[in-house]
């Protein structure tokens, strides 16, 4: 397993390098740039624009800018934000805890919703419950995150006044309960799509396993039904499911962008949105490299967990 890990990590290096070149090229090819925001202000004159361009190093050729960025990135100097002049690493580090908190909460919610619903739906195939789950999961998959988030805000914050509509803490709050209350709505929104997909996935995975002959054999041997379902069927059905969970966790990092924007959640997604509008290249590069790396690492984690869970793969 160590060998595999090492091999995959080594393979990731050229992949990340390629991603960085592509992302760098795409960002610079997009119209606008870090100085575009100054153009609306008539007091900012062309000479100011040129001065700012030089100060940000944007007057250098693109290959030179890329190599300078790469050199710094490798040694842990991720440069300074074009927006506020602070180190990119500091800006990222400030935001990571909030994003992790949101993602972890969403994963837990999605998992707790998907596993019982998927198992029960498979067990009661074609029943009313199964049909209900199908409707809910389809709705969950189809709901635009943006719209769903605003809807929950209107219901729980504006109409009922039960939960805060946005933010991570209250000015007078900040304790565990206050933070949990702020977390509820964004976590539910972010979890909904994944819970719906996972439920569908687990349901069909369970149906496939339940239809196999070793399940019949287990029953024939007199193994209690509960043990058959949870040990024999669910254990096997979870194998591909775990892979999906890991891959989705990686997607959540980027998927949180919309949720964070709607709920003014101070995580990486909000930083990305802000940096994108401002064309803050250094922050954008860092964000995209972090998300790319997280996708690669979680992919690897999925493979490793698969091997750990399924003895057949190890051989």
């Amino acid at each position: 397993m160590l060998k595999l890990t090492a091999r995959r990590l080594i393979q990731a290096v050229p992949l990340l390098l390629l991603i960085s070149i592509l992302v760098f090229a795409l960002l610079h090819a997009a119209p606008g740039g870090p100085l575009a925001i100054y153009l609306e202000n008539p007091n900012v004159r062309p000479e100011d624009i040129e001065r700012l361009r030089r100060s940000l190093g944007l007057d250098r050729s693109l290959p030179v800018q890329y190599l300078a960025w790469l050199k710094g990135f490798v040694v842990g100097d991720w440069g300074f934000s074009f927006a506020d002049g602070r180190p990119v690493l500091v800006r990222m580090a400030e935001r990571i805890p909030a994003t992790l908190e949101l993602i972890l909460a969403s994963l837990v919610i999605a998992f707790l919703a998907a596993v019982p619903a998927g198992v029960a739906a498979a067990a009661r195939r074609h029943s009313l419950f199964d049909r209900g789950v199908t409707i809910f999961t389809l709705a969950g998959i189809s709901l635009p995150t943006f719209w769903f988030g605003l809807l929950l805000q209107l219901l729980f914050a504006v109409s009922l006044g039960w939960l805060p509509s946005s933010g991570r803490t209250s000015i007078m709050g900040g304790d565990l309960v206050d933070r949990a209350r702020h977390l509820v709505l964004p976590a539910i929104v972010l979890a909904t799509v994944h819970a719906a997909v996972w439920t569908r996935y687990l349901r069909s995975s369970m149906l496939g396993v339940l239809a196999q002959r070793f399940i019949l054999a287990a029953h024939g041997r007199g193994v209690p039904s509960r043990r058959v379902v949870f040990r024999h069927a669910l254990g096997n059905a979870l194998l591909p499911f775990v892979t999906i969970v890991f891959l989705d966790a990686a997607i959540m990092v980027s998927g949180a962008v919309v949720t964070e924007s709607v709920f003014a959640w101070p995580g990486l997604g909000g930083l990305f949105t802000e940096a994108l509008a401002r064309r803050d290249y250094t922050v954008l590069m860092a964000f995209l490299m972090v998300t790319s790396t997280s996708v690669i690492v979680l992919n690897l984690a999925a493979d490793l967990s698969y091997r750990w869970l399924d003895p057949r793969v190890r051989t």
Partner: protein
């Protein structure tokens, strides 16, 4: 197997139910506990999770997080900074320049401005005595001189050096007098120090760009100081104990700026009472907010105007003044204002806005008149010869692309209405929606035919950068690419005139010439809508980039 499966399935379903029930029970407990704690924390407001505005705390729903609180470096509206750092002057709700840290606004009449024979001018600023920085150090003319030197220094990168680069030197004959020597006459000198000054005793010898401590928690002379900046969430300001206006000011103890980029979320925060005030409410949210209990919609004319820029370099047809005039005649601007804009923004006829002291209404106007529009286009040689409804000339159709910002619902609607109305007179318009950042570089490079957008005009009515023939990009913002000698002469003469009356005469003549030339299609004034608590007193608003917090020191929340 298919026969056996349901029986077995049934047997474990009950177990699954138990498990599911356990899960849902646990989840329900958590949710109930959270909701219960939420219900307990209700403190009034609009009957929800919020609390009513008070003299203890005013919560502002702010659309973005500031980049820096250094007023000279930021590119964002300076609302937070205005509460902390004061200028020598500010602009009031009527867009008049009024003294703040200066005792008066220098002028030729009061002897504060002297034109030199060498073509330069001297401006004497008298500073208010007894003003101290928040750390207790007196605010003096040395700070004014340090600010000019720092901004003109090659090692500091402020947002703009406009005006400062025309200063040769600053003399400080005493601690309360700063004499600014300009190399040339500079008409907007009044607002040179509207952003205040940098504290010499704190920043002298430091790299200001990298002075993170100052840039995130600036030292000012204003009524508030930063207590906490929670990145991505909020900035909390707290009143300073010894504000120079007296211990009774400011009236509100704390102001919280919450960063909420999404406009619907901002509105929801106002509705739920989680926020009390929001500046620059989008017009399409007016109806949603106007009846919210406890809120007042403060409406005032702005110093910006929405218009359609006609790029003469890109579209040859726009070089003919008859075509440009025809386009204005063909658009029913009153209808747009009445319907899409919900009657909130008045139609205007030029770039200098009614609030400005230089504004004139006596300019040529182009009322909605499709007959006149058709006649002008006929006269210019644009006729529908092939019967397809679109006019042609020399085989080329009268067609252009109207670029505007994507995601700006009102603009998209206006663009569609303009497209429809121009079709009626035989002009084919295609709409191009571009994201907010990309659009800036496109117009700056002149890569568009026509553009629906606004200009935020400076409080000083200088318009040279928008219309002078030598101010096309990158030298300025003349993106109509209009070139007219008489207009140039008037605008440049006004820039070199300090006395108010003769300068106004020049600017009036410039506005009249502009109206004759019709280089763009003026649409409407960008009216400001600010949502404020009904219990807030002394809120006056502000049409300029100075922002609504210019008189925050006197705001007061009274009991309903």
């Amino acid at each position: 197997m298919s026969l056996l499966l349901p029986v077995r399935v049934r047997s474990f379903v009950s177990e699954t139910r138990i498990v599911a029930r356990r899960h849902s029970r646990a989840t329900a407990y958590v949710v109930l506990a959270l909701l219960a704690s939420g219900a307990c924390s209700r403190e009034g407001g609009n009957g929800g999770v919020g609390r009513a505005a008070s003299n203890d705390l005013l919560i502002v729903a702010y659309d973005r997080e500031p980049d820096t609180l250094n007023r000279f470096s930021t590119h964002i509206l300076e609302d937070v900074q205005t509460c902390i750092v004061e200028g020598l002057v500010t602009t009031d709700e009527k867009m008049q320049v009024v003294p703040l840290l200066a005792t008066e606004v220098p002028s030729p009449e009061n002897g504060g401005v002297v034109l030199r024979e060498d073509g330069g001018m001297d401006v004497t600023w008298k500073l208010r005595p007894g003003v101290k920085w928040h750390d207790g150090v007196p605010f003096t003319s040395a700070d004014v001189k340090f600010t000019v030197d720092a901004i003109n220094s090659p090692v500091y990168n402020p947002e703009s050096t406009d005006g400062f680069d025309r200063i040769a030197s600053v003399d400080t004959p005493d601690s309360l007098t700063a004499v600014v020597h300009y190399k040339e006459v500079y008409a907007p000198y009044e607002i040179q120090f509207i952003r205040g000054a940098l504290p010499k005793h704190l920043l002298d010898g430091k790299d200001i760009d990298a002075a993170t401590e100052y840039n995130r928690n600036p030292l000012g002379t204003g009524p508030y100081k930063v207590t906490e900046w929670k990145t991505g969430e909020y900035i909390l300001l707290e009143k300073v104990p010894d504000y120079w206006r007296g211990a009774e000011y400011p009236k509100i103890a704390r102001i919280l700026f919450k960063f909420i980029p999404n406009s619907t979320t901002r509105i929801n925060q106002l509705k739920s009472g989680e926020a009390h005030l929001a500046a620059l409410v989008p017009w399409d949210k007016f109806r949603e907010l106007k009846d919210v209990p406890g809120l007042t919609m403060h409406r005032m004319m702005g110093n910006s105007y929405e218009h359609i820029t006609l790029n003469e370099r890109s579209v040859p047809a726009f070089r003919d003044v008859r075509v440009r005039r025809a386009l204005i005649h063909a658009i029913d601007r009153e209808l747009l204002a009445r319907t899409i804009l919900d009657g909130l923004a008045p139609v205007i006829d030029g770039s200098i806005q009614p609030l400005s002291w230089a504004y004139t209404d006596s300019v040529r106007k182009y009322p909605y008149d499709t007959t006149r529009a058709r006649a002008l286009l006929d006269e210019a040689g644009w006729r529908d010869t092939n019967g397809d409804g679109i006019r042609e000339k020399d085989g080329s159709p009268l067609r252009f692309t109207l670029m505007t910002q994507a995601g700006f619902a009102i603009r998209e609607n206006i663009a569609q209405a303009v497209q429809r109305q121009l079709k009626d007179v035989g002009v084919d318009v295609k709409i191009q929606l571009v994201d907010g950042t990309a659009i800036s570089s496109l117009w700056f490079e002149g890569k568009f035919d026509a553009m629906l957008h606004w200009w935020h005009m400076p409080s000083d009515p200088e318009i040279t950068t928008f219309f002078a023939s030598d101010r096309t990009p990158p030298a300025g913002r003349n993106i109509n690419y209009i070139a007219d000698d008489s207009l140039d002469r008037l605008m440049y003469a006004s820039d070199r005139t300090v006395a108010r009356a003769p300068r106004r005469a020049l600017l009036v003549a410039a506005q009249q010439r502009l109206a004759e030339l019709a280089p763009e299609i003026p649409l409407y004034n960008v009216t400001r809508l600010d949502a404020v608590p009904a219990t807030l007193r002394n809120f006056k608003g502000n049409p300029t980039n100075t922002g609504i917090f210019w008189n925050v020191w006197e705001w007061e929340v009274v009991k309903p």
